[in-house]
């Protein structure tokens, strides 16, 4: 099974303010971009974050070979339920996804 991290350059997750998380998948090439755009469904990313697909905003940007996904933060930044103040570790979840 091929993992996302096997074909892309980098996956980054960051806070987009305290209430949103944004994940940037830098594919590095048009070929890898096609693979990710087809092989990672928004539904599967939503399942990974235990949330509904409609909560996610997805941008497939061929000019940058980037797939960007933004979602309400799994826990609002800095609340009792939040374990990662800067949200950078969520990238690992996405990087470890298998590609369809």
């Amino acid at each position: 099974m091929t993992k996302l991290s096997d074909v892309v350059e980098k996956v980054r997750s960051k806070n987009a303010g305290p209430f949103w998380l944004t994940i940037d998948i830098f594919c590095g090439s048009a070929e890898a971009f096609e693979r990710v755009a087809r092989g990672v469904s928004t539904d599967r990313v939503a399942q990974l974050f235990k949330t509904e697909t409609k909560a996610l905003k997805r941008f497939d940007i061929p000019s940058l070979n980037v797939v960007k996904i933004s979602l309400p933060r799994p826990a609002v930044q800095g609340t009792a339920a939040d374990r990662d103040m800067h949200g950078a570790s969520f990238a690992a979840l996405v990087a470890e996804m298998t590609l369809n």
Binding site: K14, N15, A16, G17, P18, F19, W20, T22, D24, F26, L48, F49, K50, K57, F59, I61, S63, L64, V66, K68, S70, P72, R73, P74, V76, Q77, G78, T79, A80, A81, R83, D84, M85, H86, S89, F90, A92, L93, E96
Partner: protein, 453 residues
């Protein structure tokens, strides 16, 4: 044309001195640097304090004040002291006055304050002038008045009011990241879409280029767009690095909301001028009907202590869930009985480092574990309660046996005492905008002159 020199993404992150000298040689019209962000969490806003060391801030700011004198242009800092409250602005002003005395140079300083009176914000909420953004928490007038600090994010209009005073230095409270960069180009008639887009690209310094840690960049604004030039040795901007920066910490990579409108970069064209510089045109500014400013607020939600214990014994590593559940039951019962507390009066969490401490319920990997750190997190409404419950938890985390039959174990405490007081804890509780009749309505501007006669 208006040239803006940006020394780094934030004061406190340091900047390349040689690159800064090149920037001064390019005769900038203004030097602009950001001083803050919400990215480090709600405590800074809740307390109205800076994240960075005063000594680091002073050294870096003194270097920029020297650079300003040499360049003969204004120097502006936005979101002073991490959170941009009035207390953080006063902290920055104090540092500035100290440096001014040491440098012995007369100065005109404009101070723009962004703190909001919670009573007035609650009134604005009552008048339907405070409205939620996407994924905003539920609020009411009481919740607003519970905030220890509320700030409004100033835009270009307020920074331009400060620039109009002819100040050498502008210390601004909370502003949008872009406002301090976009203000002067807008005031001088540069292309509005280009002014906001160039400001967004420049706000993190050289993060929009290769060698992102080098900090210093120059952005030239004109009537059609802008040009980005990183100034450190080995730093290059390319259409890819510049356009990719719109992704950074933005939920939408094409649209950016600002006071008075939004930026749309869907049609932007990125062109390499040479190996280092990139030119951008085609960005659109779309004015809004209402003038709104974003609000940030933090409220105190209690006090907290943490304890850390380390389990290396295989028997305990393998049975850590049972061990933790038993401790929680016993320690909670003891706290309720001895302190007369109801279950909802306090919280004890045991977080397993080495298992799922980072991702919690989202973790989907399991591996062999050599050791586990158990982070005890005690939260309650007073510092006394947190102290008492932390001291009750301590002996469990040191000695609790899995069964009564086994010899009393002792685990590894890295510290004495094991309880670490975190003091007051805060939460962000506003993701809203406030409608203003006049951009200066929620902000205050003061000017002071420093002389050495």
């Amino acid at each position: 044309m208006v040239t803006v020199l940006i020394p780094s993404g934030a004061l406190g992150l340091n900047y390349d001195k040689e690159a800064l000298r090149r920037g001064i040689a390019a005769k900038p019209d203004i030097i602009a640097i950001d001083g803050g962000s919400t990215d480090s969490g709600p405590s800074y806003l809740g307390r109205g304090r800076s994240k960075y060391a005063r000594s680091s801030t002073k050294v870096e700011w003194a270097g920029l004040m020297e650079a300003r004198a040499e360049a003969g242009c204004p120097l502006v800092i936005g979101t002073a002291g991490t959170c941009g409250t009035d207390s953080a602005v006063d902290w920055m002003l104090d540092i500035t006055l100290e440096i001014a005395a040491e440098q012995g140079r007369p100065l005109k300083i404009a101070v723009l304050r962004s703190s909001q009176d919670p009573v007035i914000v609650a009134q604005a909420y009552g008048n339907s002038n405070v409205t939620p953004l996407e994924n905003a928490p539920e609020i009411d007038a009481n919740r607003i008045q519970d905030c220890t600090n509320i700030v409004a994010l100033a835009g270009a209009e307020q920074i331009n009011k400060a620039l109009e005073t002819g100040a050498d230095i502008i210390i601004a409270g909370r502003t949008t990241d872009t406002a301090i960069i976009t203000a002067l180009p807008l005031a001088r008639g540069c292309h509005a879409g280009g002014a906001w887009h160039g400001a967004k690209i420049g706000e993190c310094g050289a993060l929009c280029a290769t060698n992102p840690q080098s900090g210093v960049i120059l952005v030239d604004f004109d009537t059609e767009g802008f040009t980005v030039t990183p100034l450190a040795d080995g730093a290059h901007a390319s259409p890819h690095t510049v356009s990719a920066h719109m992704l950074y910490e933005n939920s939408d990579p094409f649209i950016l909301f600002e006071p008075g409108g939004h930026l749309d970069v869907t049609q932007a064209q990125y062109t390499a001028l040479d190996q280092t510089r990139v030119r951008v045109t085609g960005s659109q500014w779309v004015p809004s009907d209402r003038y709104t400013v974003k609000l940030e607020g933090a409220r105190r939600v209690g006090y907290q202590s943490v304890l850390l214990t380390l389990l290396r014994d295989r028997h305990y590593v393998e049975n850590v869930d049972t061990w933790c559940a038993d401790i929680l039951t016993k320690c909670r019962a003891k706290a309720e009985a001895r302190l007369g507390l109801a279950p909802e009066d306090f919280n004890i969490e045991l977080r397993l480092i080495g298992r799922n401490a980072t991702l919690g319920a989202l973790e989907n990997r399991v591996g062999e574990t050599v050791e586990i750190g158990v982070l005890g997190i005690v939260t309650a409404q007073t510092t006394q309660l947190v102290d008492e419950i932390g001291k009750m938890l301590n002996p469990y985390l040191l000695h609790h046996p899995l069964t009564e039959a086994e010899e009393q174990p002792t685990f590894a405490f890295p510290f004495s005492p094991a309880e670490i007081e975190r003091g007051e804890i805060f939460e962000f509780c506003l993701n809203h905008v406030m409608t203003l009749n006049d951009p200066m309505q929620a902000f205050r501007l003061d000017v002071q002159e420093v002389r050495f006669d």
